[in-house]
């Protein structure tokens, strides 16, 4: 096992990783930006180094400074959490070149799995349903033909588009010609590239993701699903496990397929496979996340398996000491993300408590919430025997949570989980539309 690990991240995830390390007896090295000098992760770690200015490019994204800090402090491994450098193949490679273990996939695996076509082909070969795209469509006629084959509704996507731009939904054939012309001219105007292709549009749908963990010996365990359908502009707000929309039979089948698929690609560590669940009960594979996710804590609460510890262990070559049959997906866990809606100084913090209530945060009284980073300031997670009880617990915990001095979305979260369609579990990705 590594005796010293550098945490190349900030906020609640840095705190989470340092806590895991402390329990494992691993010494910790924190890096921080000038804006974070008062932060909790800096105080918690055994050693802390300021590596640059508040802009992420100067600090948390500065590969050279982070690797230098690891070398100088004698850290044997780097954990990058989520975001920042966690999916950066070049950084993973840089660590390897300097004899430092990157806790996550090797550069080569990262490059292979982050290419959308490659991963889709791999997953299709492993028997999962994937959302297929066409090649570039040369004309309206070609688009019409493709749409007939795929079946309406379809999506037209600009080849050079990204970040939600250059996408058009086409509900039926009458609107195709118009949409095609618009998509081409929009693509040309916005990206200088009028090439468009077509994809099946799964709508309405739920966002279901499967958590997996795998070791070097090829053991793969699936820790069930998370339903992350409460999203606003692709930002998840509430996550729960198990999903009220997935039946035990569906879950069993999906776990089998996912496990087989991950075995076939030879992956080590924690990972998540994202799916869209359509109305007919079919799961469409979208992509694989090759890192720890923000909402990993929901699965931890449900399964009692410490994903961060196991991520570190598998990186050190330790094999899983549990198998699929040992994983009990009993009860219900739900997470509300607490986001800052303003910046400022935290005057007072009171954290909700009681059995099976967890609040992962970097907040301490007096800390400054700066405008430089993500607005996530904490994650409130509860677990109970039934979904109904979990929701009751969440409502009580949200009401008890006091964050004074900074505007937060606590009240909004309380409203959302009290909504009829959330309470009865029938919500999907349209839940936040128009809010």
């Amino acid at each position: 096992m590594f005796s010293k690990v550098l945490i190349a991240n900030r906020g609640e995830i840095a705190v989470r990783i340092i806590r895991a390390c402390k329990e494992m007896g691993i010494a910790t090295v924190a890096v921080y930006s000038e804006a974070d000098r008062d932060a909790l992760h800096v105080a918690l770690a055994d050693e802390s180094y300021c590596i640059g200015g508040p802009q992420a490019a100067d600090s948390y994204l500065n590969e050279e400074r982070i690797v230098s800090t690891a070398l100088v402090s004698g850290a044997q491994a780097i954990h990058a959490g989520y975001g920042f450098l966690s999916e950066n193949a070049h950084f993973s490679q840089l660590c390897a070149k300097n004899g430092i273990v990157f806790i996550g996939p090797a550069a080569e695996t990262m490059e292979r799995l982050s290419d959308k076509t490659t991963i889709k082909n791999l997953m299709a070969d492993a028997g999962l349903d994937v959302i297929r795209g066409t090649d570039v469509l040369e004309s309206v006629e070609a688009a019409k033909q493709a749409a007939e084959q795929i079946g309406y509704p379809v999506m037209l996507k600009a080849r050079s588009g990204g970040g939600g731009r250059g996408i058009r939904m086409v509900p039926s054939e009458n609107e195709l010609e118009n949409a095609y012309t618009m998509a081409v001219s929009e693509g040309e105007a916005a990206f200088g590239d009028g090439a468009v292709y077509m994809e099946k549009f799964v709508y309405p749908a739920r966002h279901i993701e499967m958590q997996i963990i795998a070791d070097e010996a090829g053991n793969v365990v699936c820790l069930g699903e998370r339903d992350c359908s409460v999203q606003r502009r692709h930002q998840k707000l509430i996550e729960e496990s198990p999903s009220p929309a997935v039946s035990p039979e569906q879950r069993k089948r999906l776990i089998e397929r996912v496990t087989a698929a991950v075995k076939s690609i030879g992956y080590v560590g924690v990972g998540t496979l994202e799916f869209l669940l359509d109305k007919s009960g079919k799961f469409w594979f979208m992509e694989m996340n090759i890192r720890l996710q923000v909402e990993h804590s929901v699965t931890e609460m449900l399964t009692n398996i410490d994903l961060v510890k196991w991520q570190i262990r598998t990186s050190a070559g330790i094999l899983l000491n549990f198998a699929q049959k040992d994983v009990a997906l009993m009860g219900s866990a739900v997470e509300c993300r607490i986001n800052a809606l303003s910046t400022g100084k935290l005057n007072m913090l009171h954290v909700a408590g009681g059995p099976s209530v967890r609040f992962d945060t970097y907040l301490v009284q007096g800390v400054e919430v700066s405008p430089f980073y993500d607005s996530l300031i904490g994650k409130l997670i509860v677990r109970a025997g039934t979904r109904e009880e979990a929701m009751r617990k969440m409502k009580a915990a949200l009401c008890e949570l006091v964050i004074d001095g900074i505007k937060t979305n606590i009240h909004q979260q309380l409203r959302l989980i009290s909504e009829e369609s959330f309470m009865n579990g029938s919500y999907d990705l349209t839940f936040m539309e128009g809010r």
Partner: protein, 287 residues
């Protein structure tokens, strides 16, 4: 100083098992190139994926073929006049040998590539100079190719887009290469008289006889960030005039400030900018 100062540290024994260290992986990865601006080593694939630029904004030089694939609509480029090549008319010492070496090294037979292409859906005549061929120096063949490209564009009523990179006129061809300045300028004038649009993009470096002729004759002149553009070299000017030159002299930004360029066009939106300008000047009809 953090707000909290914890009094105690847990003294947990280190978990057992597994490895502690990774072997230092020899650099069998892809080759890297150091950015002269920020001094970082960047893998070539990342440089290429960003149109030969560094994340710090530095623009590396680009070969003509690379530029063509970067700027034109996929598969639309059709090369013309590739059979026109220089042939040592003055029997200049070592020139024939030099041509042979450069041709082998650059895989091009001259310092400019001309042809027709469409950019963002608008058809145009395109010429792109090649820095790896005697630093894009202008000999008789370069002048002839560019002249013919303009004549073709005039005949067909097409706009011309030109990417310049050049050390100037080709010394080894003496006066013949200097004559190309007048010849190309004449062709540009006739193209202009026909009411047609000519766009130049000055890239690093554009100097000498090329600057003094067709490079600066565009209706719109764009320049890449940091490109050196000038006639005589800065050191020559300094030694002749015995004056210290201002900071950033002959750089694209300096040109913009002094009215010699219309805009700086970073590569990340160069293609869309060129496409837009072409479309505007062609009335958007061709698309």
């Amino acid at each position: 100083m953090p707000i909290l100062d914890f009094l105690y540290k847990p003294k947990n024994e280190l978990e057992k098992g597994g490895r502690a260290v990774a072997p230092v992986q020899e650099d069998q990865g892809e080759p890297e190139k150091e950015c002269p601006n920020c001094r970082k080593s960047i893998p070539l694939s990342r440089i290429w994926a960003n149109a030969n630029t560094c994340s710090c904004g530095f623009h590396f030089r680009m070969s003509a073929r690379q530029r063509i694939s970067f700027i034109t609509d996929k598969g639309s480029f059709k090369e013309m006049y590739s059979d026109i090549v220089s042939n040592d008319p003055l029997k200049f010492e070592g020139y024939a040998q030099k041509l042979e070496t450069v041709r082998a090294a650059s895989n091009e037979n001259e310092a400019v590539i001309c042809g027709t292409a469409s950019i963002g859906g608008t058809k145009c005549v395109l010429f792109v100079m090649e820095p790896n061929f005697m630093m894009g120096s202008m000999g008789s063949a370069v002048g002839e190719r560019i002249t013919r490209a303009f004549e073709y564009a005039t005949k067909k009523g097409l706009p011309v887009v030109g990417y310049t990179v050049s050390g100037g006129a080709r010394m080894q061809e003496g006066l013949i290469s200097l004559m190309q300045m007048a010849k190309t300028s004449g062709a540009v004038k006739r193209h202009s008289d026909a009411g047609l649009f000519y766009l130049t993009v000055l890239t690093d470096p554009t100097t000498g006889g090329v600057t003094a002729s067709f490079a600066m004759e565009g209706d719109i002149i764009l320049a890449e960030p940091g490109a050196t553009v000038g006639f005589a070299g800065a050191r020559v000017i300094e030694q002749t005039t015995r004056k210290t030159l201002p900071k950033g002299f002959q750089k694209a930004e300096f040109l913009l400030e002094h009215g010699f360029a219309d805009a700086i066009a970073p590569r990340r939106y160069q293609r869309s900018l060129v496409a837009m300008l072409l479309k505007m000047h062609c009335g958007g009809e061709q698309a």
